[in-house]
Symmetry: D3
Subunit: 331 residues, 6 copies
């Protein structure tokens, strides 16, 4: 069944070096479109959900190309603001073995970071929406982005929409004078599903615990809206080799997923977003345990697909969960 | 020493997405030439055997390009029919880790599927031939292909030529109204060497056994021409990681090859054809045990070479069998 | 602190097949610049050392392109001779799994092999030099190259410069009538740091031992200038998977480095040169144990970078030594 | 102002050799999506018109990729039928100078050719539609395609929708037993705007005239629905160099456009479709003379853009019409 | 003879779509390094002049790659400031025929735009300098860039260095509150050689004339330092086809160069910079007439070379001036 | 009708920079196979003639790849010698407009240059041969190549085979101590058809004339075997734009072909070889005038095909001669 999911976030141009070339060697760059919340949206739309994105893009051909990509992905782009200014960019160097992958962000001063959403008609925006998703990246970008995020959370509450927030703390953002603890606790207080690990709890909610369940309980005490906390558990053996599982605390108990070995990673960017999309899809259509397994399997498959987006079907994810067809040649 | 091997089969254009891109992402395709029996032929010709192929190609530039490829490989193309119609195609998406590789066949209604071989002079075709090889793909394509295959098997018998048949059952072919059990038992009854696993015995000879030797014995009872049955044993850990060995039943006992670990597969398409070619080469030039080891080692090396064809030399295969130079940098 | 390192060696054009294509398949070649001593120099220059190279290049656009590459790498090219003749080349085919990588050298009769260095002003060349590095490849190329190497070693001694020699015995070179034992012992007798394994000792110093320390002691007895002997220990599981460590004998005892697993090698060419550069850098700036660890870690990282040169920073090597950031995504 | 345009036609995968390579040389193919009516639709959607396409695509990943492309282009794909069968393909070789470009069609037996449109709700399909466009390619493909085309023309009449038909006679299609004269006159009799040249009149309406206006008058006499006839006039100096203008007969007089010189063609495929789209756009938004100039200028710009689709904006077309910015570097 | 030329300017990363693809189509970008003054410097260094550049680059891998490029070009990069901040970028779409080329600048807020040069030791910077070159782009970027430019012009005067200024008015820059007429007249008053056309005189010196010589005379009246004014005369038939000549007023009379037809332009970016470099080289080493011919020929050759930089030798330029070898195949 | 043509010549690896990149910019090279006489052979084989090549290739993978290419082209490679040594190479930079194309040869000391043909059985080689073709490049390479050429000419005479010689004087070859006048007159004296222009007559036959017919008459006087002299007339407007026609003196009168304009050359290498092949084909199958027109048209088409070889069919050449289909899109 089709659900409508709304999300908010910056869409960037992704420029990655080919193969395993380093930045210093690159004579050309693969160009794609990325951004955490857009990646979540593209996954959900690929799974035939109704997805709308609130964002802002420049009124030049780079913005037009990004818009085209989002449309392709089946996303409703009718609320996206087109304005003067620059496109957010990020440059990616794909690591291998002991050499880490590197990202250089070039997103400050983008059209999105100046966007306040005042041109939006909230009734239109939230019409028919079942779920709203935000991430901790948006409030980290600028005061206007943080306040747009808060505004949307308040509207979500008004319209009775379920809210997920991927805390996703990134130290290198947050350059506009505010600290995570100034902003995030209020945003979290409007959310039912939270993606957070121990360091996110520490940095964004001032909860310093070593046990995940205890941290979750404290978070719920701080923000009673929270009904569920989930996160991936990633063991990074090397840039080429990770192991991945997921956990989910449902207010009562901790659920664990199967753990997958990923010894030949193609592209790990967007792995967390694939998990997030899987979890939203799962919670809308499946039991909690199934949702978590679906989310982890979706994320695992993402690591085999180049680019930010997770071009795998619901069937493919379900087959991985049930252990069918793994490694076979499908004719 | 040079032997003459004759084979029959469809030659297709292979269009594969670059790297690990999915079909949905591909902006260009690598174009090569493939087809099970042609792959066997190209291997044997690369090993300096005399190889001729019976096939049919369209009278357009795609057919001409395929012909050129076969000539390059050293195959005698003088019997290949050029006619009106379309080229068989297949599209390939290379998997990675838990994501399987996928093939989309687009070969129905091809020139080959309409070809009946009535223009051939059998005496010319079988002149000097030491070995004839067919596969279960040909009779699956069309009634005319099946009857051409049968005709050639009868001629092979007439000229006293050794015959190998790779049963290679593919459920998605067989669309012209016949079932494998209608056709294959008769074809098998003209063959001395059979490549078949337990599911092939079940689907193509109605022999339902769990033990390979028992199944072989029943097959020989059904088709007394059979002198040898062989197959690869593949353990598919993931799309990137397989283990491969081979077994051969020679009418008396079961021979096993060494098992190889292949944790970083480049291209597994054609792996079975490389085994088949290795087995034919081995049986023509070596002992049975050596032939099996040669076949498995040839197949293992194929998994490191992009494309359908196995561009490795006899020396390279022999070195792998004897454990020389593995992983060294050869200057 | 910046040191000045001088080295001598041939610079070649490197033409490598893309991906894992075999020579027989390649429709295009990646073109880079390589050569053992130049690789050492490029590493050291990338680490902000002052590096000068004595070499010879043809007075055509291929020579000009190589010169441009060396300048880019920050190497002082002012002593490089430009003359009539041909550029040395090498062709590389990247192996995978059980299939070995292959190099075809096409370097005979190059400008470098005819160069005698008689146009050099030695006082200028050695001004401010802290270290001179040579390898066993140069004397293997031609009589004039061998005698230029000897001449430079004598000058190094005159100017009190520390000397390292990477013995690097290659059977396929040495075609001008001399044998390693005719030439190398004298060159080694001017060197303080030697890179050699047991087979190098055997081929180049006539020291046939099974124990590394014993061999080192005999080498020092033969050539009292030797203060240190080091080498990598490489376990080649396959073309894609090696394990690498290093050992160093300092005249008194044997030091061992940590051993690294490298299961997904991108490009192993230049791995030894990266070790050599790391050792020179380490011995100039660190303790012996640190130098060895730095050299091995630099070499490990090289295996993740395409091309001959090791484009990794001192910080990245140090982080690998200290186990930081391995496999993380750096944003 | 936004108008809604409906069109009907087959969508194919386009596989073109890179640069000026011939089929016989190609080791890879650029993959795009094409088809005459889809090209018209993509242009109109790029110009911010509301466009819907009636078509049929296979239920495999190639069909999915084509669908994704159409969505990207902003086309309403909700009426497109997804069914079993094969994707229509065409192979393209780009000519140069005296060497002509070549197309190999591989579209017979496609899903579209078997599609009858019986699953469509015509009221839904024609809701809000201002214009319906068909071409002579559709009725050439199969009896069911021809009858679907006729059905849609009747519905268009019922809903009072303006109709354009690009006669576009192609001898190599029409293989299902019918001749153009059996089918096209009836289809034309439902159309107001016809794209036809003298040979189209001869082949499709049995009107054999040497003068365009006379031919148009006879066509109108035969089919009184016709209000306008237009066509491009192309002077093909070579594959690289064409001259292009357009003419339009409006029932009263003949209008001629400016003629453009195109001496360095990048890709002429889709040039006619770009003209068609320009004419529809022009007739919906401009005067007849302006419409013709817009159509020709749009077609000229298409010849500078690789691929089937005409990715140029209304502003760019208008600037060419008014002679602004030609050949300048726009910063 | 080797002269030392100093220049000042921003170095950008250039990202251009491959072939004639539009931004909306591009799946990858060619990455190079560009910038007007750096292009002038790279040309002069390629012609074996001593060139130093004053600039600022970010302390990340993109900055490092740009630095490497400049070193390769033989430029003295020792004065280049490395600081926190972003790299200036520009995106380029290559036009064809009637479709113009387009540039999207993304250079605001770059490290260079914040750089004030206060860390420079002017005595060091101007040591041995024969010529200083600036362009109108630098003062258009920011107040600090304009004041650094003025500072360097004053130092140039103090050290008796000849100054050239390429006025190069670009409307889309100049966003920091100042107008060209506020800033440029003072900068011009320190310059001996000016590159300006009639619109530059109007925009930057408030001289509104239709005759070039009259404009030059008025400019000299306003700025008595001016000894020479030169400019290219470009006739842009289309994006693919230009004609190019040059004129030079030497205070006394107007000199005209030969005019070249360029009907198949490969890359016109950097054409003006190639002219500028040619003029500086010519004025340092040749007569005025020869200098102008050299400058135009250098610019013409640039249009045949992909990228911003003009990789043609002095010999190649001289041969074009003297009409040798044009269009021959040089073996 | 099929004729058998024998030729002799070196086969080289061709490494060309992509697009219009200069050597100094190239990060990769397109790899093909070339060589004047092999190009003639590949054309003739593509036109379904029986072609055999006498040559020598190295016993390494580069030699194997060249051999594979020749087989693909349908050439009988059974006489090609495989020996130790190096492969001849050439590097190509594609010019544009006023910038000339450049070739760097790297063919000295190749296996071919050392080959004496003493292993050949002349009766076998000349069995069924109708035509023998040699060029002036072979005797320019080495004494052994010159003497092999002479030997083959004597055998050709013995077997009554028609001989063509493309004089093709190249100053930069001829480095082994002999001058063209020492060698070529004797070789010419065995030939019936000569390809030579005025400068070839001067350099290779010491005939210094300004009129082509006079020169031909003197040549015939010197070498009475000569029955025909032909050459292309090329007007090189620029590297991108040539005009091409041909002339043929048949002992009685001068025949001229149509002249073609080629304003957008794709690849001019092999243009002369395409003419040569066309002339041989024409003289074997057509009248003299037709042969000349065929030869010129074949050469014109070659300029539109990338690579050394002329992949155009007899039909395509004939259509150009008769003016059909020029510049049309063939569907």
């Amino acid at each position: 069944m089709r659900k409508r999911i709304l999300t908010l976030g910056e869409v960037m141009m992704r420029l990655s070096t080919p193969g395993h070339e380093r930045f210093i060697q690159a004579g050309n760059y693969d160009a794609e479109v990325g951004g955490s919340e857009a990646n979540v949206g593209v996954s959900l739309a690929y799974w035939e959900q109704d997805v709308a994105l609130i964002s802002a893009l420049p009124s030049n051909d780079l913005g037009r190309a990004a818009l085209r990509y989002l449309k392709t992905g089946g996303i409703d782009t009718s609320f996206i603001h087109i304005g003067d200014g620059r496109m957010g960019l990020y440059f990616l160097e794909n690591g291998a073995m002991q050499r880490s992958s590197k990202i250089i962000y070039d997103r400050f001063d983008s059209v999105f970071s100046h966007y306040d959403g005042n041109d939006l008609d909230w009734e239109q925006v939230f019409k028919g929406v079942d779920w709203f998703h935000w991430s901790g990246i948006t409030p980290a970008l600028s005061a206007s982005a943080a306040s747009l995020c808060l505004r949307m959370l308040k509207e979500a509450k008004r319209y009775g929409v379920t809210v997920s927030g991927d805390i996703n703390y990134r130290r290198n953002l947050w350059r506009y004078g505010k600290q995570p603890l100034d902003i995030l606790p209020e945003l979290i207080s409007y959310s039912q599903v939270i993606i957070a690990g121990l360091s996110d709890f520490a940095n964004c909610m001032d909860i310093h615990e070593r046990d995940f369940v205890t941290a979750c309980e404290k978070a719920k005490a701080q923000s009673p809206s929270i009904q569920m906390v989930s996160t991936t558990e990633r063991d990074s053996v090397s840039a080429s080799h990770n192991r991945l599982g997921g956990i989910l605390w449902n207010g009562e108990k901790l659920i664990r997923s199967r753990v997958y070995d990923m010894p030949a990673i193609v592209d790990r960017i967007g792995g967390g977003d694939a998990f997030m999309a899987g979890l939203i899809y799962g919670l809308l259509h499946k039991t909690e345990q199934e949702a978590l397994e679906f989310a982890v399997a979706a994320s695992v498959l993402k690591h085999s697909v180049p680019g930010d987006a997770n071009f795998v079907t619901v069937d493919e994810v379900n087959q991985l969960v049930s252990g069918e067809n793994i490694g076979r040649l499908l004719r």
